[in-house]
Symmetry: C2
Subunit: 336 residues, 2 copies
DNA sequence: GTGAAAGCGCTAACAC
DNA sequence: GTGTTAGCGCTTTCAC
């Protein structure tokens, strides 16, 4: 093992005290310029780097952010993570990634483990199991310890902390408008996320908006046990739909494929609008028109809010909820 | 801020010394059972958790692993990350995720930053720019400091460290066999990753295997500037292919969609085999037959190797290269 | 302008 | 069986 360079070593070599060396490296005005230059020169030569651990112990700051997400294979979360990472790295923060796999226990465990001098703050999306259970004490615990938390997308209303969400309801409304404007008369809704808060929000958005038009809608909750495309194909046939809103990316892409099963032309005989605008939407045939949630921006926004808090640049004790605007990305599954 | 519980506090409250408390919590046989019980009881009550920073400073171990990957939006890397995460969490390691976005500079930066008491070891896939440049000093630096490195998938032959790779050549051979066995006579190869080592490996594998049969092949390198499906459709038409091997997931899915453009039936008129077996393969229409690289297993294997090294369970100084076997996942784009 | 000393929270060798 | 002490590498107050 190559010897690690410490302040002590530099001090010895220069015949100075440790504190002088430390101050020199910080350009402390107490120290003469000559000394400062001397110290810096040697530090550079030896490529001295402060021991992050020692600095953290002293300052009680780790410069790291705990990111707790339900599922990294979900392209949406991956995008958010990317946004967080970029912003964090800009500000010289590390990120510690934890994946709950939608489990309440894992979520609790990770929060607990990381809250003890592991990270300065958290960015998280609530696990499905936690949302179903409605138990949020583990978040409160963290907040009591004065560790800031920013929730995104899957948030817990009950917890008083910063949040970054998407105007899902409005987005759903936009999806309805889009379909109606491209001539659809009968619109069906397909979802695999009926249990999640976002799933409910979107459904509400659709239902509310559809009352503006002379039509109604119907929801198909996809069952994991059966083939999605078959379920959707049947749903379309039975109700004679000419428009489908997929409340999540999988539901939307499967709807496009269901049209293939039925031999219906998209978008001529069936239009589809999806949510999330991830990688699947760009690789379906035809490519999906979607409501984009700007996942990357969600990530960077969440990171900005958290870092502002950590650096005390923001007002304390005043949690904010930031709403990211949705927008429709027009591609091939709708008519103009 | 709720006061953090420290050994000192417990000691004071119990009228014991700090070291006694410390030892009690470690079940040191030097300490009487009565004391141990007393200490543990209070520790539990106060929900004492050791300060991870102090432990790290003392032990010079952080129990964290630096994971450096080129792109988290790539489903393959996301899967590997998932595998790493599971294994790490099992062994009570944290993971620090860094995304290089294929940049040499970023890769260097992250390795540098994290190597100073940030992490105990690294798991990484080399960035594209680094592979192109062929500069690997930054890896050597890390190894000199005795920080173990495990490379996966995108490895640098030149660096003497542990590696986890896939038998890409054999996998490519399997893809050829699969197509020939399902009756293909003219096989084309499509790729978006011709610059990466894995891309070259796979191509070689195809070319080598195809000599066993009475046919030849041809490669289409997809240009980012133009629509993939159009390029592929043209390629298929011009060469009258009845089989396509997509060397990466995007190329493979785009090939299936190109068949749609041409109005060719898959797999009846055109068979396709892809690589990577990610989320896209499962959502194309028809679903893709692919060569799976078992990404998750790659991740957990890499993590196991690293953790074994870190805990000195493994022989030191003897880097190993583990080859993960590929397998064909049969779905709808090939005939039986 | 420089240095000594205390302390962040913990561990462990060494007393007693 | 329990306590004292030194030290991990750094920052910072206070003394000189």
């Amino acid at each position: 093992m190559r010897q690690k360079v410490t302040l002590k070593m530099l001090a010895q070599e220069l015949g100075l005290s440790i504190s002088t060396v430390s101050k020199s490296l910080k350009n402390d005005p107490e120290i003469s310029q000559i000394t400062i230059d001397k110290v810096k020169k040697l530090a550079k030569e030896r490529s001295y780097k402060p021991n992050a651990l020692a600095v953290s112990l002293k300052s009680n700051k780790t410069r790291s952010i705990g990111v707790v997400i339900p599922d990294i294979l979900n392209n949406f979360f991956a995008k958010v993570l990317q946004g967080i990472e970029i912003e964090a790295s800009k500000n010289n923060y590390k990120i510690i990634t934890s994946i709950t796999n939608e489990s309440f226990e894992k979520e609790k465990e990770y929060l607990d483990m990381l809250s003890y001098n592991g990270v300065d703050g958290f960015i998280l999306a609530v696990a499905q199991e936690t949302q179903t259970k409605g138990e949020f004490e583990h978040f409160e615990e963290i907040l009591k310890d004065d560790i800031p938390v920013v929730m995104f997308d899957r948030v817990a209303e009950e917890v008083y902390c910063d949040k970054v969400i998407v105007d899902d309801k409005k987005g759903a409304g936009r999806a309805v408008d889009k379909l109606i404007n491209s001539g659809c008369k009968r619109i069906g809704v397909v979802s695999t996320i009926q249990k999640l808060s976002v799933g409910k929000e979107r459904l509400e958005g659709v239902e509310k908006r559809i009352t503006s038009y002379e039509t109604t809608t119907k929801l198909l909750k996809l069952k994991k046990t059966k083939d999605y495309e078959q379920q959707i194909a049947q749903f379309i046939e039975e109700n004679n739909f000419d428009g489908i809103i997929g409340l999540d990316e999988t539901a939307a892409v499967s709807s496009v494929n269901a049209a293939n099963v039925l031999g219906k032309k998209v978008p001529d005989e069936l239009s589809v609008v999806g949510f999330t605008d991830g990688i699947l939407s760009k690789h379906s045939y035809p490519k999906l028109t979607t409501v984009s949630q700007h996942a990357k921006r969600m990530g960077s926004t969440a990171a900005k809010i958290l870092i502002d808090k950590l650096e005390l640049r923001a007002e304390r004790y005043l949690p904010e909820t930031k709403v990211i605007k949705t927008s429709i990305i027009e591609r091939g599954t709708t008519k103009n």
